[in-house]
Structure formats: structure tokens, C-alpha cells
């Protein structure tokens, strides 16, 4: 875990509202694992006050990439950063995806900006078979940067499968019948809930969760997610953001 004063190297606009930001942050770049995230201070003032959490999208040498959507004021400010601007970044945070173990095919399922952690995951999964399901509102929101073997699903049918990404996965999964698969899911809660249901007693499945966060590293207890077994909560920032799909209750 480091706090690095990084420098923006480039900013690129992707499909839809998405942006790709490349920043120089050597310590984080060298230690980050797919599925981990960073907590970024988007302004130098008290407004917005708190850092904003973003999955690491990709890392190479001294640089880290973030892929994000404009949601509110914080992401708007982030989208306005220019090469040379400074950004205070805290990371790597969280556990990341568990890529070890006994499976031959990795199925990546992402909804919207939920694909953000997939490029680094894809690289890490070298040697495994990969199928990536990318869901989006419409063709002009489909993001493919850094992913491979992509099956697209759009809500309006303007590209690929006509429907949501889980339905798409269901209609395609028979092609993987002989494979030993592990699912990696990331996206909005309703999508993850549907995926969780689909996976019950059927698939080895890891979900990357979101939560409102104040600190991002376990000191505020602001990011609970209900345990499926026993009483109480996990902390998304510390125990997650990636959970075995049967370990949590998604609200």
C-alpha cells in the first residue's frame, strides 16, 4: 500500500462516456494485481473531499491505467485531467481476483464500465482460454479496450446479442460445456445478482463488488457487504472487492 503523487501521462476517450487515464505511479504499477483498486484524490481542495475508488484497468512498467465513466463531480474532474497534471493515488487496495487453481477457461463477464479490471486480468490469465462477455446499453457504449475473445450484448440489440449480458452468457454457455470454467464478474449490482443466481451450485464464480467508501483500506468500516453465512459483514475494501459468489448477499 502506497500513497503516490502520480503524474497524468495521457487521457483517451473511449466509447460512450468512458475515459482511459494513464498515470505514472511506479510503486503501485509494480505491485498491483488484477481486481485490486486504487483510491484517487481527484482535486487538491476539500471538494470533493474523499478519494474515489477505481479498479486498476491495466499496468505496464511504471504506469497504471484507469478506465472510468462520468458519474458525478469527482469523475467529471478526473475526465478533465491533462497530461502533466498531478494525482494523489492510494493503492494497491483490496484482494484482487484469485486466478490460481484448477480451471482451464476463464469467463469474464462485465456490464458497462464493469469491464474496467479486465485488461489486466486478461494479461494475467495468459495460458488460460478466455471468453469475455461485454454488456452495454448500445453499440456506442461497448468497450473492448485490452480484452480478447469478446462476445458483446447490448440492451437495444444494436451490437451482438440482443439483451443483457447474463442472458447472453446463458445462451452461449453450452459452447463451453466440456470446459472447466471459472467466472469473473464485474458490473452493476443487478447484473451481479443475476450472475450470482446463475452460478449457484453450478459455477466457480468470483464477483467484484462496489460500495460507497470513505477510506478504501479498512479503517472507516464504511463499506459493509452482508455475509451469506453467519452474522455480520465483510468490508468491500479490505475483504474484497472480489468475493466468491456464494459468500455474500447482494442487496
Amino acid at each position: 500500500m502506497y500513497t503516490e503523487l502520480s503524474t497524468v501521462e495521457s487521457r483517451e476517450k473511449l466509447n460512450g462516456n468512458a475515459y482511459l487515464l494513464k498515470v505514472k505511479a511506479p510503486q503501485i504499477a509494480k505491485s498491483i494485481k488484477p481486481g485490486q483498486f486504487c483510491n484517487i484524490k481527484v482535486s487538491e481542495t476539500n471538494y470533493p473531499l474523499l478519494r474515489r475508488p477505481f479498479s486498476v484497468c491495466y499496468a505496464e512498467e511504471d504506469s497504471v491505467y484507469f478506465m472510468f465513466d462520468i458519474q458525478g463531480e469527482g469523475t467529471k474532474m478526473l475526465a478533465e485531467k491533462k497530461p502533466g497534471d498531478r494525482l494523489n493515488i492510494l493503492g494497491p487496495l483490496g484482494n484482487g481476483f484469485d486466478t490460481e487453481g484448477d480451471y482451464d477457461t476463464a469467463v469474464l463477464i462485465g456490464g458497462g464500465i464493469g469491464v474496467a479490471p479486465f485488461p489486466l486480468l486478461t494479461e494475467k490469465l495468459e495460458g488460460k482460454e478466455i471468453v469475455t462477455f461485454v454488456g452495454a446499453r448500445s453499440a456506442d457504449h461497448v468497450i473492448k479496450w485490452g480484452m480478447k475473445n469478446i462476445v458483446t450484448a447490448t440492451d437495444d440489440g444494436s451490437e451482438g446479442f440482443n439483451g443483457n449480458v447474463i442472458a447472453c452468457f446463458q445462451s452461449e454457455v453450452h459452447k463451453l460445456e466440456k470446459r472447466k470454467i471459472r467466472i469473473f464478474g464485474c458490473g452493476p449490482n443487478p447484473m451481479l445478482k443475476a450472475l450470482q443466481k446463475e452460478a449457484i451450485n453450478k459455477y466457480d464464480c468470483q464477483l467484484s463488488m462496489e460500495s460507497a467508501m470513505a477510506c478504501g483500506f479498512g479503517i472507516c468500516q464504511g463499506c459493509p457487504i452482508k455475509k451469506s453465512q453467519g452474522e455480520g459483514y465483510y468490508l468491500v475494501c479490505k475483504d474484497g472487492p472480489v468475493f466468491e459468489s456464494d459468500k455474500i448477499i447482494i442487496e
Binding site: N46, Y47, L49, A214, C215, F217, Q221, C223, E251
Partner: protein, 303 residues
């Protein structure tokens, strides 16, 4: 050399900067990002007798220059704290103040009675901003008699310094400080969070599941300073100033307004090194102002 040590009643701190309860857990995570041994001390997350799982999400939300939280006093309970957290805390080489929260006067006393045996604990901070379960959920912190009684009874079971952490959600906070003093309390901490809320205008639901939360961060600094000043002008008791401190300038402002030491909370989430930086900043400030003992800053306001 500037003498940074400060005295909070019989508690001596190597410098006046403490990390606030609920914003550093039990010290382990933040220890990776900052050198806790440099700080005046840390105040551990509010402990109750039994573990508490805390409130359902959403527990936090941002506001303009502030944040709301309703964690629900999630904590491991006294027993686990002693077994699992104290061994780590001991190694930190900083002063450990143990914060206690309870739903009845008896629970406050019982927690203190058990914890006072622990050598690692230098002092207690009693968080009275919890609902009094017996009296129907009203906050102890808004009830003068309750604060007096808690101070008195907790003092009876420990020789360690007892600091009462006051609620700002009252008309005259100095009356509460006076009750603490009159009942033998060693110091007061001011302030805990202000009651606040926020709604999502599209769903019409509160943004915090618990409906209301506690407001902290720079937004509340002027209110916190006014409370510290009010106590300082009316009651002779050491004050630990808390509320919206982001940097050494804010810390100095609290000391000028009457605080003998300060605690920093929300800023730890944003800048985990803030405590160390504040100490460095205060040293530079003292040099510029030709202040030899930082304790001389306390209540040095010129009104």
C-alpha cells in the same frame, strides 16, 4: 528544540496530535502507511462489551466538504479486543487511548473495569454519543445528569485518566464540560460528529440507511472551534480539540482556541500521513512564532 509534549490532566503525550476514534480502527491498517510511533497517540474504535456488527449499508456518504457516517459502532467487543488487538497495539510505541461506547451506565462501568487491567491502555475516552437503550434511545450525550453519572461511575473503577468525548448537538457544551469536571473527569474531547442527513432525490430514500448520520470533516471545523472556545472560556479542564482538522494550520487554530491536544479523524481517510505532517508543520510554526513549548499555544487567543 521545541518541547512538543503536552499534559492532558495526568496523561502526558509526547506531542499533541492523536488519531480519532473510529477513523483508525485498531491501528493495524494505517500502520502500513504512516509511522504511528511519531504521533502523540491513537484512540481506538469505540468498544462495547459485546461485539457489534454495525449498521447495514449504506454507511457513509459525502457532503460538501464533509461526510456523513452511521457505522453503528461496529466493533469486536472487549474480549476480542484484549486477545487480538492489544498485542499489536502494544508494539506501536505510541500512547493508546481506549474509547468506550455503551448503551447503559452499567455497560460503561463494566467495560472500564475489565479494560483498566490492561497495561497497554494509557487512558480511556468515553464516547457518550450513543443512545441510552434503557431510557428509550435518547442520547446520553444530550443529558447532563447522564454525563455526570457516567463520569463519576467510570472514574470510580479506574485510576487511569478518563476523558469524556462530548456531543456537539447541545445548546451549551460548556455545561457538559463542567459536569465532567465536577465529577472528577480528567479532560473532555470536543467534538464528536454533528447529526446530519441527506436524501437521494430520485428514490426519496435517505442516502444513509440509518437515516441520520454523523457529519465530520472540514465543513464542521468552525462549529468545533466555537465549542472548544466556549469550553475554554468557561471551564477549567483540559480539552482535546476535534473536528475538521486537515492540516497543521487547523491544528494550531484548535490549540489557540483552547485545545491542549487535537485529534484528527476524517483526514486519515484522505491523507493517511496527515498526523505526521501536522506534527512537522506545528514544529515549523512554533519556530516561526518563537514558541518554545507547544503547550503555550493552548488558549493563547487574543480576544
Amino acid at each position: 528544540m521545541i518541547d512538543l509534549s503536552v499534559q492532558i490532566g495526568k496523561l502526558k503525550l509526547k506531542n499533541p496530535v492523536l488519531l480519532a476514534s473510529g477513523t483508525v480502527g485498531y491501528g493495524n491498517e494505517i500502520a502500513e502507511l504512516t509511522d504511528l510511533s511519531k504521533l502523540g497517540g491513537i484512540v481506538t474504535k469505540s468498544l462495547s462489551l459485546k461485539p457489534r456488527i454495525g449498521n447495514p449499508p449504506q454507511r457513509v456518504c459525502e457532503t460538501s466538504s464533509g461526510m456523513l457516517n452511521a457505522i453503528g459502532l461496529a466493533n469486536v467487543g472487549v474480549e476480542v479486543f484484549i486477545k487480538e488487538k492489544i498485542p499489536f497495539l502494544k508494539k506501536l510505541n505510541t500512547t493508546i487511548i481506549c474509547n468506550i461506547a455503551a448503551s447503559s451506565v452499567e455497560e460503561y462501568v463494566e467495560c472500564t473495569r475489565i479494560l483498566t487491567r490492561e497495561e497497554a491502555i494509557a487512558a480511556f475516552e468515553i464516547n457518550v454519543s450513543c443512545p441510552n437503550v434503557k431510557d428509550g434511545g435518547l442520547e446520553f450525550g444530550n443529558n447532563l445528569q447522564a454525563v455526570a453519572q457516567i463520569t463519576n461511575k467510570v472514574k470510580a473503577v479506574t485510576d487511569k485518566p478518563v476523558i469524556i468525548k462530548l456531543s456537539p448537538n447541545v445548546s451549551r457544551i460548556s455545561e457538559f464540560a463542567k459536569a465532567v469536571k465536577d465529577n472528577g473527569g480528567d479532560a473532555v474531547s470536543a467534538i464528536n460528529t454533528l447529526v446530519g442527513t441527506a436524501f437521494d432525490i430520485w428514490t426519496k430514500k435517505p442516502k444513509i440507511k440509518n437515516v441520520t448520520g454523523g457529519l465530520s470533516g472540514p465543513a464542521i471545523k468552525p462549529v468545533a472551534l466555537a465549542k472548544v472556545l466556549e469550553i475554554s472560556r468557561n471551564v477549567e479542564i483540559p480539552i482535546i480539540g476535534i473536528g475538521g482538522i486537515m492540516d497543521w494550520k487547523d491544528a494550531a487554530e484548535f490549540m489557540i482556541a483552547g485545545a491542549s491536544a487535537v485529534q484528527i479523524g476524517t483526514v486519515n481517510f484522505i491523507n493517511p500521513k496527515a498526523g505526521e505532517e501536522i506534527i512537522d508543520g506545528l514544529i515549523e510554526y512554533c519556530k516561526k512564532m518563537s514558541i518554545g513549548r507547544i503547550a503555550d499555544l493552548t488558549a493563547s487567543y487574543e480576544i
